[in-house]
């Protein structure tokens, strides 16, 4: 089977549009050593919100004994994912735990004390290619798999969204364009068969013609391993990508591999493509073939201040400190601990923050690695314009935001910013451009909420006014009716009195009946 052919125009476009940056890789020595298994920590902290969407709802109570793989919290709403026990032990409680948030916010989490036995629940195996697409999505949903590249979008939701539109190409994202990180690299080298199998399962589930695995060319061993694993299968192809940040962004990857452009208000499924990270594909393979929930992942532990950088396979919920300690601790003063990659990762306020499903790295960075000089004035060098992968003009957006003109920033594309940070990275004046944009996006979201709130209040007030008006009108109408009724009765009585001048005794009876009718009207 042939890969989708790139048009000459798309090929030319790849040459002409030189977006992105080339940050120093710094993937070694972590990428050179095999993944080691981190020993089970005594206590695991499992945040309920490890994914995009609604947090999971806990179904266990303090003191409850659980086995490895047992369901601890269920998905809540359409976009959510369940959480399973990474080992056997006792639920200590559900309380606030530190999260990877720049301000050090806490969030609810299940605290699990490991008993060390690591007793598993029996798993339900299946033959993926005999399963219906919906059943595959169900098994992925039940396993709590989310995008493991860091986006943490529930994988099953992506699969079902994709099933609503015809998908011809499944793309596995093995770009790993963030510096330092090599967890996907090690996964592709050491478990190439699982990655390829995962690619084929997703391709099967989507009814796509082909699965492409895109890997940046700075990972030749991974490319070779995947190619040999994919050899027997005509429906999987491994495609080297240039090493460029942010090649791992879904839109850029789709553009590079297929020449298609995802509409601004659409998803990749709109152009017939579904993108999953290679780590997610491997997890999907475990879930669909062996019924295994997502309770562990590979994490790169690196940074100039770390003694022995390497990749570790870690239970979800392990505190960052345990990983650093296992890698020999730090050997120099640390400027910043980062969860994720240096380009989009989050600075940690505490090493108690646990590894979650989307944690690709824990970095201990030296002052010389983080940069961080005082920002200078913008000299309009347009480095950011050339680097922006979606062709925004970051310098103009930032000056609008600085001037408080969010609407102007919106007009020139603030909403389209993917927050990749390439503009900040290349700025010679070290202006924190992406921070401006994230701030402005937050401000806009707040404004939107405020607007919705005001709208609701306005609607309620208007509804009340309408109701009051209606009631007043009804009252007035009733009163008018009664009056008319009374007058009619009076007139009738007068007429009757005139007409019945001869039989005098009939008149009071008529008057009484008219009065009774009036009273009835009033009580009605």
């Amino acid at each position: 089977m042939n890969a989708p052919l790139l048009s000459p125009f798309a090929r030319l476009n790849r040459l002409v549009r030189r977006w992105g940056a080339h940050p120093e890789g710094r993937k070694h020595p972590a990428a050179d050593t095999e993944v080691a298994l981190l020993p089970l920590p005594p206590r695991l902290v499992l945040p309920l919100a490890q994914h995009v969407g609604a947090p999971a709802r806990p179904i266990v109570s303090p003191g409850q004994r659980v086995q490895r793989g047992e369901l601890l919290a269920v998905a809540q709403g359409t976009i959510s994912a369940p959480i399973h026990a990474p080992t056997s032990g006792v639920v200590l409680g559900i309380g606030d735990a530190p999260t990877a948030h720049p301000a050090g916010l806490v969030a609810p989490a299940i605290i699990l004390e490991a008993d060390g036995a690591d007793e598993p629940l029996p798993l339900e195996e299946a033959e993926p290619f005999a399963l219906a697409p919906a059943e595959i999505a169900r098994r992925v949903a039940a396993a709590g798999i989310v995008g493991m590249g860091g986006a943490t979008f529930p994988a099953a939701v992506k699969l079902s969204l994709g099933q609503r539109r015809p998908i011809d190409t499944v793309i596995l994202n093995g770009g790993e364009c963030e510096p330092y990180l090599s967890c996907d690299d090690r996964l592709m080298r050491e478990r190439a068969d699982a990655v390829v199998d995962g690619a084929r399962i997703i391709r099967h589930a989507m009814g796509a013609a082909i699965a492409l695995i895109g890997v940046e060319s700075n990972k030749p061993e991974a490319i070779a391993a995947l190619r040999s694993a994919a050899k027997p299968f005509a429906d999987v192809r491994v495609v080297p990508l240039p090493s460029r940040y942010p090649m791992g962004s879904a839109e850029q990857l789709i553009g590079w591999l297929t020449g298609r452009e995802v509409p601004a208000d659409g998803r990749s499924a709109d152009v017939g493509v579904l993108v999953h990270n290679v780590g997610t594909a491997a997890a999907i393979q475990r879930a669909v073939r062996y019924g295994e929930p997502l309770t562990r992942r590979i994490v790169t532990v690196s940074g100039g201040a770390l003694r022995t950088p390497r990749n570790l396979e870690v239970r979800i919920g392990t505190p960052a400190s345990a990983l650093i300690e296992f890698c020999g601790g730090i050997k120099a003063p640390v400027a910043r601990y980062v969860m994720g990659g240096p380009m989009m990762g989050v600075a940690l306020r505490s090493l108690d923050v646990p590894v979650v499903k989307g944690t690709s790295g824990i970095l201990a960075l030296l002052p010389s690695e983080v940069g961080g000089a005082e920002p200078g004035p913008c000299i309009r060098c347009a480095s950011c314009v050339g680097a922006c992968p979606i062709e925004l003009m970051p310098l103009d957006m930032a000056s609008f935001i600085r001037a408080g003109d969010l609407d102007a920033a919106l007009r020139i594309g603030l909403k389209d910013c993917i927050g990749c940070g390439t503009c900040s990275y290349v700025c010679p004046s070290q202006i924190p451009l992406v921070q401006f944009f994230n701030h402005a996006k937050g401000e806009l979201a707040a404004r939107e909420r405020e607007r919705t709130k005001q709208e609701t209040v306005r609607e309620l007030v208007e509804a009340r006014a309408r109701r009051m008006e209606r009631e007043a009108r009804e009252k007035a109408e009733a009163a008018a009716r009664r009056k008319a009724e009374r007058e009619r009765a009076k007139a009738a009585a007068a007429a009757a009195a005139k007409a019945a001048a001869v039989p005098v005794e009939a008149a009071p009876a008529t008057a009484t009946s008219a009065a009774t009718a009036g009273a009835e009207e009033a009580t009605a």
Binding site: P263, M343, R349, P377, I379, C381, L395, Y425, P428, Q430
Partner: protein
């Protein structure tokens, strides 16, 4: 330690000061050639102009209550003075350099808000101000005399820059000025264009002209260095040179007697310096790729138009200023199409569905 850190947690670009240093390095060969060709007065003028810019920068920063050290350290004021000096007649009196430098920094740069905020290229604004206000001093050219840099002349040269001014005996005319004067007397190019004009030798600077502009090949070499160092892009230089060369080729082919050939246009005056060092000024040129093409092409074309039909023999500075004024507009109308959207800002999906 500031506990709030936002991504990215890495930084890759050259700091502004390093960019300025590279530009200065690229200007060095042409500048040294200028000193060698025009002697001590050129060196003195260069020093005065640069010092005037730095002093003006320090004064402005002081009155604006901004920190002086980082802004002076980035070298942008030195570079402004340097570029201005290169565009001046080499034996101009000291006050031309001092006044020009002060004007460039105070009026053209800080009145607009300082580094990054100025609408016009400071060096070119100062040059035009000087040219209009002091036409005599600004058009006093001299034939190069390579031996003038002899230390024995160092003292007597002081009199040229700081005293009596340029002796009439050494004055000469620049090629563009000469051709313009002769044309006004009704002479055709065949009569006025010196027979020995040769693109190869002229480009090394051995002719009358501004301090640092006559060595066009050396200026271009510095420019290519900047392109290779990725300090500047190729769009503006290529477009500017093409903007000058294309109309010159067409006109001189159609009427060789009336219009100078493209080679003379390209190597004379400030075209090469402008293409690589002036028009590429980050602050005053467009940020969008297509805007940079337009800026360069139209700037080059304006240069040719002014040289050919304007009152002044040289049009580079005027052309650059006119294009500087148009830059905000160019940036606005050439904003790139955003990924996933049509040019008008609507989503690609909306286009497909409707």
């Amino acid at each position: 330690m500031n506990p709030m850190h936002c991504s990215p947690h890495a930084h890759g670009a050259r700091p502004v000061g390093r960019v300025m240093q590279l530009v200065m390095l690229a200007l060095t060969p042409a500048t040294l050639a200028g000193f060698w060709l025009f002697g001590y007065p050129a060196l003195y003028l260069w020093c005065v102009t640069v010092l005037a810019c730095v002093a003006a920068e320090a004064v402005c920063l002081h009155f604006a209550a901004r920190p002086t050290a980082p802004a002076l350290g980035d070298g942008s004021a030195i570079l402004t003075g340097w570029l201005l000096a290169l565009s001046l007649p080499p034996w101009a009196p000291w006050w031309i350099g001092a006044l020009g430098g002060a004007f460039a920094i105070i009026v053209a740069k800080h009145a607009f808000g300082g580094l990054g905020q100025n609408l016009f290229n400071p060096a070119m604004a100062a040059r035009v101000m000087l040219l209009i206000s002091f036409p005599v001093e600004m058009t006093q050219w001299l034939a190069p005399q390579p031996l003038a840099i002899d230390p024995a002349n160092a003292w007597s040269a002081l009199a040229v820059t700081f005293g009596a001014g340029m002796p009439d005996a050494v004055s000469s005319a620049s090629l563009l000025g000469h051709v313009k004067t002769e044309a006004s007397r009704g002479l055709s190019l065949a009569q006025s264009l010196p027979a020995q004009w040769n693109a190869l030798t002229a480009g090394f600077g051995s002719r009358a002209g501004s301090l640092g502009e006559t060595g066009a090949w050396l200026v271009a070499a510095g420019g290519v260095f900047l392109v290779l160092q990725r300090v500047i892009g190729l769009r503006i230089p290529v477009a500017f040179l093409a903007g000058v060369a294309l109309p010159a080729v067409v006109a001189s082919t159609l009427a060789p007697d009336h219009y100078l050939p493209a080679s003379v246009h390209l190597l004379s005056g400030g075209v090469v310096l402008a293409a690589f060092f002036i028009a590429t000024d980050y602050v005053t040129s467009p940020s969008t790729p297509s805007g940079q093409w337009i800026f360069g092409l139209v700037g080059g074309l304006l240069t040719w138009l002014i040289r050919t039909w304007g009152a002044f023999p040289e049009g580079v500075a005027f052309a650059v200023l006119l294009m500087n004024a148009a830059t905000p507009l160019i940036d606005r109308v050439t904003r790139p199409r955003i990924y996933g959207r049509q040019r008008n800002g609507r989503s690609l999906g909306a286009a497909r569905n409707g």
